[in-house]
Amino acid sequence: MKRIYAREEFCLGCRLCEIHCLVRHSKSKKLIKAFRKERGEVVPGVMVESAGHVTFAMQCRHCDTAPCLEACITGAMHRDKKTGAVICDADKCVGCWMCVMVCPAGAVRRGKDGKEGKAASKCDLCAGDKTPVCVLNCPNEAIVYEER
């Protein structure tokens, strides 16, 4: 399947991916509004890590054998049949954070969606969009979406 890969040697550390991810997964979908009003509410599925000049963007690997899928006690974490993406159904998630505990990439984080206001937050490959927004908006093509 197509996956998102970071090319850390070209990551600027600008964090535009995080910004656009946040907007894409916000309610308003409007950049300024989303960032002003929903920052802290929406946890971006991509996170930029940096240490010195080394920076890179990390998000869910959508593993073939996904530990988060195996660890999910509610069945909220599931694989989308069409895209192959591992997606969390926020309505089912109870926020037990088993997924957070088992993701070797640290790519699942505690979010604020769902009925209880807590549900695992992670990359959903932009729900089947042709190109995820982090890839689309990376100014240096340091995030690529491809079959490998």
Partner: protein
């Protein structure tokens, strides 16, 4: 001493309605213009350090940043321009040579903008490049004056004249000499890859050939400059051609200086000099004090390369450029590259950059005419350099007599350069003219290669359109064909030098 008389050049404004405090600008500015105040949770900007490179504004997701020239106006003075006043301030405070980068920004006449191309109407059909072949293939190198053929016993006619080595270009545009050191590894790689992809050539400049780039060597011209950095027999033999750099349009008669702090391990290896040592290119080649010395170097290089590589001689366009070019051809140069007044550089004394040399248009026309007058035009190809901004500039140069052109600034701009002219600071926010690992990674060579290839492709398509519109289908029918040029707003003398008629004639 604090530089208190020199006021900021730019004003950076932030539209607080739009700013979302995302700090992209803070993370992108190598000049520390933007900063985030944790306490106030507010991004703010200080224009004093702004070089006007637009990195922040380009990456700002909400378009909240605008950069304008400082509104601090001097009393109008046609003689004492703000630049000249500021330069005096700077020198009064610093006491040194003022440095600049890229080509001169003074309003010297751009002759391209006074030359117009021709097109077919009725009497000969224009040719549609989308339907008919349109040939840009260009061979650079020495050509014989005539071809001899022999008929074999089988009745087949064979070539009996030996053709000396040639560079085959799919399009008459090459990348100018830009050394690894003056530009980043990624930028160098992109140029080499784009040259290979487009079937043309990139020039190493005087910085040697990084081992990683050997795979592109068949599309690279290696330079031998006065510092001889990175030059050994292998370097000469692995390349497609060798260029002896005598001068550079931005700083004729001036050497070069790569500060030791930029000479990291990789550059040190590539240049074959100790890490951390200054790389100083002397003003002249100390083994070339006359034309016959040049001849010896050319032959030394040809011997070293078993006469398998064309040798180019690059000179700056100075007053007697045509005589120098003629001398170079007679000294054995297979290609003469002429770099005009507006040619770029990574660093040059401002006063030299802005006041020395002549425009490439006049130099090119003079050299082409001179070589034809002497009947030696076939003996060398002419490559023109020094600011080609568009396919039209290239087409006009070819009509004036160039076989091909070198583009440097355009290539940099294609990669993202915003002509802030601060290459010499090593803080290129676009990752081109820098060795800072924070900055070099900003240039993804895949992206840069694609952008360069696109530029070459776009320009090539435009040149094809222009050829077609002129009713010819091969670049050689435009080369030196000044009938296809007309001048507007030039003096008679300028037109004589350019060999073009005024529009309407």
């Amino acid at each position: 001493m604090r530089r208190w008389l020199v006021q900021p050049e730019f004003k950076v404004e932030r539209d607080l309605e739009r700013c979302i405090q995302c700090q992209v600008c803070v993370r992108q500015c190598a000049n520390d213009v933007h900063s985030y105040d944790e306490e106030d949770e507010q991004v703010s900007s200080d224009g004093a350090c702004c070089v006007g490179c637009h990195r922040c504004a380009t990456l700002c997701p909400t378009g909240a940043i605008s950069i304008s020239r400082s509104q601090l106006e001097f009393k109008p003075n046609a003689n004492w321009t703000p630049e000249s006043i500021r330069n005096v301030y700077k020198q009064a405070e610093g006491g040194g040579v003022l440095l600049s980068a890229m080509g001169t920004d003074r309003p010297w006449r751009v002759y391209w903008d006074h030359l117009l191309l021709n097109a077919s109407q009725v009497t000969n059909p224009s040719i549609d490049p989308l339907r008919e072949p349109m040939e840009l293939v260009t061979y650079l190198g020495r050509k014989p004056d005539q071809i001899r053929v022999e008929r074999g016993p089988d009745g087949k006619v064979r070539l009996a004249t030996e053709i000396t080595p040639q560079l085959k270009l799919q399009t008459p545009i090459m990348f100018s000499a830009m050394s690894y050191g003056s530009i980043s590894y990624n930028a160098s790689q992109a140029l080499a890859r784009a040259a290979k992809a487009a079937g043309t050539f990139a020039n190493t400049g005087e910085g040697g050939l990084h081992p990683d780039f050997r795979q592109y060597a068949s599309n690279m011209i290696v330079q031998v400059a006065s510092g001889r950095f990175g030059v050994d027999p292998d370097y000469l033999n692995v390349a497609a051609a060798v260029e002896i750099k005598i001068g550079q349009g931005a700083k004729p008669g001036i050497g070069g200086h790569l500060p030791g702090e930029k000479v990291d391990a990789a550059i040190s290896r590539t240049r074959m000099i100790p890490q951390g040592s200054d790389a100083i290119s002397p003003a002249p080649h100390h083994d070339i004090y006359s034309i016959e010395d040049l001849r010896q170097l050319i032959y030394a290089i040809k011997e070293t390369t078993q006469h398998r590589k064309p040798v180019s001689v690059k000179i700056a366009a100075v007053h007697n450029v045509s005589a120098i070019a003629s001398g170079a051809v007679r000294a054995g140069a297979d290609i003469v590259a002429i770099d005009g007044l507006r040619g770029g550089t990574g660093a040059a004394p401002t006063t030299i950059r802005d006041n020395v040399g002549i425009p490439i248009e006049l130099a090119l026309a003079a050299v082409d005419s001179r070589l034809r007058e002497e009947g030696i035009r076939n003996q060398a190809s002419i490559v023109a350099a020094g600011s080609f901004r568009s396919a039209a500039d290239v087409a006009k140069a070819i009509a004036l007599g160039a076989d091909a052109v070198y583009i440097g600034t355009s290539a940099c701009v294609a990669m993202g350069c915003h002509l802030c002219q601060r290459c010499y600071t090593g803080k290129c926010n676009w990752g081109i003219a820098t060795q800072d690992p924070f900055l070099t990674k900003r240039l993804n060579p895949d992206v840069a290669t694609r952008r360069l290839t696109n530029l070459l492709r776009g320009w090539s398509l435009e040149i094809k359109e222009m050829l077609g519109m002129m009713g010819v289908n091969a670049i050689e029918s435009l080369r030196g064909n000044r009938e296809h040029l007309r001048a507007v707003g030039l003096s008679d003398r300028e037109m004589v030098i350019l060999g073009v008629k005024p529009a309407g004639e």
